[in-house]
């Protein structure tokens, strides 16, 4: 009795060391990523300088050099290389349902956005169009005010999952990641796409199977409210009248062959075309395998 009382008192007085979300051990938390310990934080395989400028891969990429065709996306950027540790982390989140990992993964994706932003800025110089000046001014100590010339995306679109998968898992990981990025960067997100058929788990398939499967796997969201929202957003931002293409980012958890992203991008191109505007589509994924 006495000892339990003592233990409670001691636990109240002791400094709180929390469990690391990645390794599960009690350790000092890193300053950069919340709820991740210093050891795990230093071992994250960030992709800071992608080797393939197209798909954002950290190693040489035969897939992109194989075809000269420009494809439906401008480029992909990923936060981390899909190592076995990262696979375990994603599994914890996606399959086991440990949703406490969502903010961590979202924050990591945000870094990939910074990389993309920096690259685009260099390419386009000062000429990029500013829609965000139309939004109410963003104030906050973390925002670098005065860097208004930075490239910004106009819209985030998460890769949808099938209804069966959504019911099983309870959430769409791409949508949750897009949510975080959207809040952090003040970029709107819209679920413009739906999955028309259940393609089964991609992780059990070969490259050829995936490519064949992905054709017509996605369609424009038939939900009229979403479509109306999209049209309203285009009009209110005055985007339809401008000659410059929309800057859209597709969000997903992982880029493997890119077939999912390409299929989504094609559907978005069609949708944008039907509304009389053009789009430049990028993709941002948490991991690149």
């Amino acid at each position: 009795m006495m000892s339990t009382w003592f233990q409670v008192a001691k636990s109240l007085l002791a400094p709180s060391a929390s469990d690391c979300l990645i390794c599960g051990k009690k350790a000092q938390v890193s300053s950069e990523i919340p709820e991740v310990c210093k050891i795990c934080q230093t071992s994250i395989p960030w992709i800071r300088n992608p080797r393939c400028s197209k798909c954002g891969r950290h190693v040489g990429c035969p897939d992109c050099s194989r075809s000269g065709d420009p494809g439906p996306i401008v480029c992909n950027r990923s936060a981390v290389a899909y190592t076995s540790v990262m696979r375990e982390v994603l599994g914890q989140y996606k399959y086991r349902g440990n949703e406490r990992l969502a903010p961590v993964l979202g924050l990591m994706l945000d870094r990939a956005y910074t990389v993309l932003q920096a690259e685009r800025g260099q390419l386009r110089g000062e000429g990029s169009r500013q829609i965000h000046s139309k939004l109410p001014a963003i104030k906050g100590k973390f925002k670098r005010i005065g860097r208004a010339s930075l490239w910004q995306a106009d819209l985030l679109v998460p890769v949808p999952v099938s209804d069966a998968r959504l019911a099983e898992r309870g959430f769409n990981q791409a949508e949750r990641l897009a949510d975080i990025l959207s809040r952090h960067r003040r970029i709107p997100q819209l679920p413009l796409l739906v999955r028309t058929h259940h393609t089964g788990k991609q992780s059990f398939k070969s490259r050829a199977e995936r490519l064949a499967d992905m054709k017509h796997a996605f369609a424009a969201n038939p939900d009229l409210a979403i479509r109306a929202e999209f049209v309203y957003w285009l009009e209110s931002a005055g985007l339809q009248t401008q000659s410059q293409p929309l800057q859209i980012i597709i969000i997903d958890d992982i880029y493997t062959t890119g077939s999912t992203i390409r299929a989504c991008a094609e559907t978005i191109h069609e949708l944008a075309g039907s509304l009389g505007c053009t789009a430049e589509i990028y993709s941002l994924t948490w991991a690149r395998s």
């Binding site: 914890q92 086991r96 349902g97 440990n98 949703e99 959504l166 019911a167 898992r169 309870g170 959430f171």
Partner: protein, 670 residues
């Protein structure tokens, strides 16, 4: 998931049901299937569908709060709506505040009165086929506690034909009273604490009623059972709000809450404690089978016969005899709510596994199911061939994370303690090995799982060389039946540790030299060609020590290993086969490793990371073989602490008891 919920009137009594497949319920309550096996033959007077799709957690709550005395007979649509709103008041509030989009108003309008409308609902359902499917389903789900994805995985493997229509079959089993349909996270009924047990029995009263008509007889439960009066206290106001939410599978409080696409709520609670076995949430379907009564072992099994059959020593046979007596004992409380417990306190190297053989044999012979569980996966892998050899005629299921036997129904089951979360009132005998070991020790989730895996009238046997202090106290006070095996199988006393004063490892590493008395002792052990365990308290010390040791003993094969070492298994194997003669390690090797002709050195034995139990366990690595039963055990530390004193005292006590009982073989005295 979402489920339908409806009320049904049968001979003036109203009951509330949750349905995964409304058509099955309509056929059931139409009472037209009386001739056919497995179906109800009494028609309901009235059926009121309260909602065709409600978050499962809400549907279950409505059912659990139903009080049959309610005068529902005269109720109109609005009354049903009011009842639902009243029971779900807290949930609706939380949802509104969270900005949920679920149409709560829909609760009232969806009430639909339906009289015997079985017409047209048989589309796609063949009652005979479904009856047979339900039979098959119960065979594979017997004794299980499974979430929907687990049920689906099990069916895919065991009954692939049923994979598409399992919902209908589950619903029929539920109506028959053989399967409970629960929300995996929900309000737990008031806990009834029995001694040291953390119980959170959340069995619905309906299922307990069903238990009186055992499915084991093969005869089906008749509707009479469904009319048993249900006594339930309706808690209101603050009491209802305080009703604790629990994960029914693991007993933990759900700490996560998230927007859920499966049930449509913005705040669907989920459990973070048992995520490793798939997510348990407020709208997740948890299926549990109704228990069959526990078998009773015959008292006829003579300990001496058992001893001869299994080749037990006198001390082993004595303990086995006591445990057999415990198993055969009639239970004092005939309607025992929790299993009876027995502690087998056997010193390190006593041959615990052999002692369990006659116990397992007795339960299996009585037609029961037995389980051996251990916290550690490597112990499971080591025990599996021994059990298979000892019980060649029984089906053995070996369960651990990723094992192939995952859905095998074994008469004898060997599992890691985590796997017990998948069982419900399944075993007549549960033996828990090394209950004081990580992670079982101090994990209420695993204790909850173990208790739920055992039938209410079943038996628990704990094995340990170092039982936790609360169990030791209960045993000493005579409140816990127990038997001690105070001597090793070879009949020699346990080596008693000696203390050697030495500065801390940290200081030695700083100084860059090991003290003379440690080196001298090591030299003696090398000279007698012993295998040396050198335990340290911190992984960080291993590297530095290896450098110093290799300088001092250039010819010797010296290695270090820890939980962070990927080559750990290979190094332990090399140590066993004498390719490595000195292994610097941490408490990861305190248990389960048997190396003949070994000496044990514990550095920083005064570290707070070594408690009494772990010192006894580490000391227990020495002198385990018949050929070298003595062995040296040395505690090196600047301080002589309570833990060290306790460990030495415990070892001495066991030796004294052994000598007094005459178990020490002649010429083996100290």
């Amino acid at each position: 998931m979402q489920a339908a919920v409806y009320a049904v009137e049968l001979e003036g009594d109203w009951s509330l049901w949750v349905s995964l497949h409304m058509n099955v319920d309509r056929i059931w309550w139409s009472g037209t299937r009386g001739e056919r096996d497995g179906w109800n033959n009494r028609a309901a007077d009235k059926l009121v569908l309260l909602s065709s799709a409600l978050p499962l957690g809400w549907a279950v709550k409505l059912r659990e709060h139903w009080d049959s005395s309610r005068a529902a007979r005269q109720w109109q649509e609005e009354d049903w709506g009011r009842y639902m709103a009243e029971v779900l008041r807290t949930e609706i509030d939380v949802e509104r505040r969270g900005g949920g989009s679920l149409n709560v108003g829909g609760l009232y309008t969806e009430v639909d009165e339906n009289y015997r409308s079985a017409i047209g609902c048989e589309k796609g359902i063949c009652a005979d086929v479904l009856g047979a499917a339900a039979e098959q389903l119960m065979q594979v789900l017997d004794g299980r506690s499974l979430l929907q994805p687990e049920v689906e995985a099990l069916l895919e493997e065991q009954l692939p034909g049923l994979a598409g229509q399992w919902r209908a079959a589950v619903q029929l089993c539920h109506l028959q009273g053989r399967l409970s349909v629960e929300a995996a996270v929900g309000a737990a009924p008031v806990l009834r604490s029995t001694g040291a047990w953390h119980t959170a029995r959340a069995t619905s009263a309906r299922l307990l009623g069903a238990g009186r008509f055992p499915a084991v007889t093969g005869r089906l439960l008749r509707t009479a059972a469904l009319r048993l009066p249900q006594l339930r206290l309706l808690r209101r106001g603050a009491g209802a709000r305080r009703a604790e939410e629990r994960c029914l599978r693991c007993g933990s409080a759900p700490t996560g809450r998230t927007a859920c696409a499966a049930c449509g709520l913005v705040g669907c609670a989920y459990c973070e404690a048992c995520l490793a076995l798939g997510r348990s949430r407020a709208c997740a379907l948890l299926l549990r089978s109704a228990a069959s009564p526990a078998v009773r072992c015959t008292a006829g099994a003579s300990p001496t016969v058992a001893a001869r059959r299994w080749g037990l020593s006198a001390a082993q046979a004595g303990a086995a005899g006591a445990a057999l007596g415990f198993l055969a004992e009639p239970r004092q409380r005939s309607a025992a709510r929790s299993p009876e417990r027995f502690l087998l306190w056997a010193v390190t190297g006593a041959g615990k596994t052999e002692i369990t053989f006659p116990l397992l044999a007795a339960v299996l012979a009585a037609g029961g199911r037995a389980l051996v569980a251990t916290p550690r996966r490597d112990v499971v892998l080591e025990l599996a061939p021994r059990l298979a050899k000892a019980f060649p005629a029984e089906t053995l299921a070996v369960l651990y994370g990723g094992s192939a036997d995952r859905w095998t129904h074994g008469q004898l089951t060997l599992a890691t303690t985590h796997q017990l979360l998948r069982f419900y009132q399944s075993f007549d005998l549960v033996i828990i090995d090394e209950l004081d070991a990580y992670p079982y020790h101090n994990d209420p989730m695993l204790a909850y799982a173990a208790e739920h895996a055992c039938k209410p009238g079943g038996s628990f046997i704990y094995l340990s060389a170092t039982p936790p202090t609360d169990l030791q106290r209960l045993a000493r006070a005579g409140k816990l039946p127990h038997a001690r095996v105070p001597v090793r199988f070879h009949g020699h006393p346990l080596p008693v540790p000696r203390h050697v004063g030495m500065s801390s490892v940290h200081v030695c590493l700083k100084r860059g030299a090991l003290p003379g008395n440690l080196l001298q002792a090591l030299r003696r052990s090398f000279a007698r060609k012993a295998q040396i365990f050198l335990f340290v308290s911190r992984i960080a010390h291993i590297e530095g020590l290896l450098v110093l040791l290799r300088q001092d003993f250039p010819g010797a094969a010296i290695e270090g290993t820890s939980s962070r070492d990927p080559a750990r298994a290979e190094k332990v194997e090399a140590f066993r086969s004498r390719a490595i003669s000195l292994l610097v390690t941490t408490t990861i090797l305190e248990r389960g490793v048997t190396v003949p002709r070994s000496d044990v050195f514990i550095l920083d034995a005064d570290s707070s990371l070594f408690d009494e139990a772990s010192l006894v366990q580490m000391a227990g690595r020495a002198g385990r073989s018949k050929e070298d039963p003595a062995g040296t055990v040395l505690f090196f530390s600047p301080q002589w602490t309570k833990s060290q004193r306790g460990a030495v005292a415990q070892i001495r006590t066991m030796n004294t008891i052994a000598r007094r009982q005459g178990y020490i073989s002649k010429g083996a005295g100290l």
